[in-house]
């Protein structure tokens, strides 16, 4: 039987993993749902965030929190020309074109990362104030993961508030719901695409940096983790903002659980469960028909 | 009393609060020239979707030649002779005109899934397709990819494909939609020359076309049948004018 302590561990680590997965994948969900563009290179943005964070901290000794911000901003900036010059011609177009284009970018990113940083994993050295454990009396929790959960929760709340309460959020929701209607109402969808893309990429960069010790930063990052990001989006539902959160939670906790209880099977059951969910709800849990 | 070619009884379909078909009773006689009109959003295209099987009704019955087809999948209805065209041309874009029609003929003949013989072996199907194109004046463009044709000619190919299925009932969804004025007479003449044994249901907005082609008109408003009758009666009906022209009292 599983002990309560083990359950708490699984829940805790699953939650931390879920936060990272969500931060990275929410941008992808919106890109696929809003722009009709399958961006297989989305993981590259998370990777860029991770490299920026680890490089700035280890080579230049910059403090943790400012570096996180820089990582997010840098990623968002890098994503802008890619969207403007390349992606935008293929919105709503043929999947094959999008798959090949973004796969090509992934390959280039693998080469680029290997050239710049070498083939080995970049370890994350959390700052001193986040190392070690937090003792809550009945048990202690790793400090960094706790920070991850809290930080993630804060970001998710801020994101949801922004979507629900701001004019920008209203425009995004309108455009996801019915693009033509949104255009006829006067929403500048071209600029909206650009802004949401940058926002989603920035969040991915942030998630990649924050989660550097959960998803190892190495040149093949985008390829290795592609399946998980796509699962979060597919199970959550394209274009949904909340759906991927539920999916990330399910995936994070299932991943932790299976790794703890049935390590010989690895992620096999996760994929099988994903197929089962998609069989039941082909458009995802919160997807539109 | 011969059963009508197509009939619906109490056909009902809703999407949540939106009711697109509100207990529609409808009868299409054999060989009819029947038009279905109504303002935008009245549910005309939904009606076609329900009748052809692209949409499942919540309640009601659909009968084809007296037999119930309410639960039948779309392909089975096509095999029985219930055929439709699309409001926005839906053809096999990069394939030739001849190929478009031949695919339909092969499906009708049940050889569409054949794996043993090359498709060229079925010369009868190809000849039949070509003859059909010839009859409709499309023979000259038989080998051109269909997306290279003028839009009006594409609408003709759309009708050709539907004729290739030997329809008993043909639902034409806005056949003249999007056709430049210079080419619309082609389409209208084609419809006029369709064989009299096919029952036609035409959805249209173009009143001239309707009054030229239809012997009977059904007016659909918000999923309900408002009124049905011969063209002169419909034209004179004050309710119809109110629905189309607003609350203004007609002069």
């Amino acid at each position: 039987m599983i002990s309560l302590s083990a359950l708490v561990s699984i829940g805790f680590h699953g939650l931390a993993f879920a936060m990272v997965l969500y931060l990275i994948s929410v941008g992808l969900s919106v890109t696929m749902g809003l722009m009709g563009f399958v961006n297989l290179a989305h993981g590259v943005f998370a990777m860029v965030g991770g490299y920026v964070l680890t490089s700035l901290m280890s080579r230049f000794g910059v403090a943790f929190l400012p570096t996180l911000l820089v990582a997010a901003l840098a990623t968002a900036l890098v994503s802008l020309p890619i969207e403007r010059l390349l992606y935008r011609r293929f919105y709503g177009g043929e999947e094959l074109d999008q798959v090949l284009l973004t796969m090509g970018l992934v390959f280039m990113s693998v080469a680029g990362a290997t050239y710049l940083w070498g083939p080995l994993q970049q370890p994350l050295q959390p700052p001193a104030w986040l190392s070690g454990e937090i003792d809550l009396g009945f048990r202690s929790f790793p400090a960094y993961r706790s920070f991850l959960i809290l930080c993630g929760a804060a970001l998710v709340t801020a994101l949801w508030l922004a979507i629900e309460r701001t004019r920008f959020g209203a425009r995004v929701r309108a455009a996801v719901d019915n693009l033509r209607m949104a255009q006829s109402v006067g929403i500048d969808t071209s600029r909206l695409f650009m802004t949401t893309f940058a926002l989603g990429s920035g969040l991915a960069g942030l998630g990649g940096g924050l989660g550097a010790d959960l998803l190892a930063i190495n040149p093949s990052y985008a390829l290795q983790n592609l399946a998980y990001f796509l699962i979060v989006v597919a199970v959550g539902g394209l274009g949904s903002i909340r759906g991927p959160f539920v999916a990330a939670l399910l995936l994070g906790i299932a991943d932790s659980g299976f790794k703890y209880l049935l390590p010989e099977f690895g992620a096999f059951f996760i994929y099988a469960l994903t197929m089962a969910v998609l069989l039941w709800r082909p458009r995802g849990l919160f997807g539109r028909a | 009393m011969i059963a009508p070619a197509l009939e619906t009884r109490g056909l009902y379909k809703s999407f949540g609060a939106l009711v697109v078909a509100n207990s529609i009773d409808f009868r299409l006689k054999h060989g009819a020239r029947h038009a279905l009109i109504g303002p935008n959003g009245a549910g005309k295209t939904s009606f076609v979707a329900l009748v052809t099987g692209a949409l499942r009704p919540n309640a009601g019955q659909i009968l084809f030649d007296g037999a119930e087809i309410t639960g039948m999948p779309q392909a089975a209805r096509v095999k029985r002779g219930l055929v439709r065209t699309f409001q926005i041309t839906a053809l096999f874009r990069r394939l030739s005109v001849l190929e478009n029609v031949t695919l339909a003929v092969c499906e009708r003949q049940g050889i569409g899934g054949g794996l043993l013989r090359p498709s060229g072996h079925y010369r009868a199907a190809i000849d039949e397709s070509y003859a059909l194109l010839d009859r409709l004046g499309l023979a000259d463009e038989a080998l051109r990819p269909v997306n290279m044709l003028a839009y009006g000619r594409q609408r003709l190919v759309e009708i050709a494909v539907s004729l290739a299925l030997s329809p008993k009932v043909l639902l034409l969804d806005e056949p003249a939609a999007g056709v430049p004025t210079g080419e619309s007479s082609m389409v209208i003449e084609m419809i006029e020359s369709l064989p009299p044994d096919i029952a036609l249901l035409i959805i249209e907005h173009d009143m001239d076309l309707i009054f030229r082609l239809a012997q009977r008109i059904t007016v659909l408003v918000q999923g309900k049948v408002l009124v049905e009758g011969p063209p002169e009666a419909i034209a004179a009906d004050p309710e119809v004018r109110r629905v189309y022209l607003g609350e203004r009292v007609p002069a």
Partner: protein
């Protein structure tokens, strides 16, 4: 101007043309011209079959998949495991690989083909990742990270040994490719194959002419999977090794690249794209793998932006 003669030509599209002998003549000529490259040659031939199977899905049925390597890997592992556990007969190994891959195609197709577009794409990726993970974790039988060791492939018909110069391997792959190509060509020109192009061009219209679309897609998916399985088994048997790179996402991606280079949906794109890619890879990738990745990635981007039709598409433009 269309005359009855043009319609005759339409009805005779499936007849063999002299130019179609070219790939086979070239393959036999290559045997004599490049005797020290037969091992690479055999790999090229087997990969052409893999790309051909992917073209049936991609170019003809219009099904974009990111998981075709799953079938390649399944065929390879089955043939490999048989040979490593005492049954090294190559032809039955080939058939077993085809059967396993075909079965996987049928079962996954039942799930995956229920949608189209982006959801379908993602589901194919999940299936492929699942197969790769299974191969990874079942390392007691697949060899896991180290790869499948100890394969012993028997001589074909008891007579033709697989020697280290690759003679037998080359002709083994050539003949299997030829037979499978005959089958693929036959499928493409049959009414079934023509209906696939209809499904690709306009699914709605296909339903509206009464075609059983779901069934047709499932059939071609299964056939394509079986052919991919054969190609995987060929590589396993001629190199006597199977690794986790066989069912990888990378391999699914590179087969798409090879097809795009040659031209999708024309049956011969594979014959052009695969040799071009693999010869280039053989020359450049071993020297500087990092640069190879970069240039291939860049090329993919450029091809998509500028030259979507591939080599055959450019040839078309010149002919006009």
């Amino acid at each position: 101007m269309t005359t009855i003669r043009a319609v005759d030509a339409f009805a005779r599209r499936h007849r063999y043309k002299p130019l179609e002998a070219l790939p086979w003549v070239a393959a036999i000529a290559a045997y004599f011209a490049f005797p020290s490259y037969l091992a690479l040659g055999a790999q090229i031939l087997a990969t052409i079959l893999f790309a051909l199977s992917a073209d049936l899905l991609l170019g003809y049925a219009g099904i974009v998949t990111l998981g075709h390597a799953a079938f390649f890997g399944a065929g390879a592992y089955i043939a490999g495991i048989l040979a490593a556990h005492g049954w090294g007969e190559p032809i039955t190994g080939l058939l077993a690989g085809a059967g396993a891959a075909g079965l996987l195609g049928l079962l996954s197709g039942l799930i995956v083909l229920r949608t189209t577009g982006l959801p379908l794409l993602m589901q194919t990726l999940v299936v492929a990742t699942m197969v790769a993970e299974a191969a990874n974790k079942a390392s007691f039988i697949t060899g896991g990270d180290d790869g499948l060791q100890g394969m012993e492939v028997w001589p074909i018909f008891g007579e033709l040994r697989f020697d280290m110069f690759g003679n037998t391997g080359y002709f083994y792959c050539l003949i299997v490719l030829f037979l499978c190509w005959l089958a693929a060509r036959h499928i493409v020109h049959s009414p079934f194959g023509r209906s696939l192009t209809g499904i690709r061009e306009n699914v709605r219209r296909m339903h509206a002419i009464g075609a059983p679309v779901g069934r047709r897609r499932l059939v071609i998916y299964t056939i394509s999977a079986a052919l991919a399985g054969i190609s995987g088994a060929l590589i396993a048997q001629t190199t006597q090794f199977v690794s986790l790179s066989f069912p990888s996402l990378e391999r699914s991606g590179t087969v798409l690249i090879m097809l795009i280079i040659g031209g999708v949906g024309r049956l011969y794109g594979a014959f052009i794209g695969v040799p071009l890619y693999m010869i280039a890879q053989d020359r450049f990738a071993t020297a500087e793998p990092v640069y190879w990745y970069f240039w291939i990635g860049l090329m993919m981007v450029l091809v998509v932006v500028f030259a979507r039709g591939g080599v055959l598409g450019l040839a078309d433009r010149f002919r006009r």
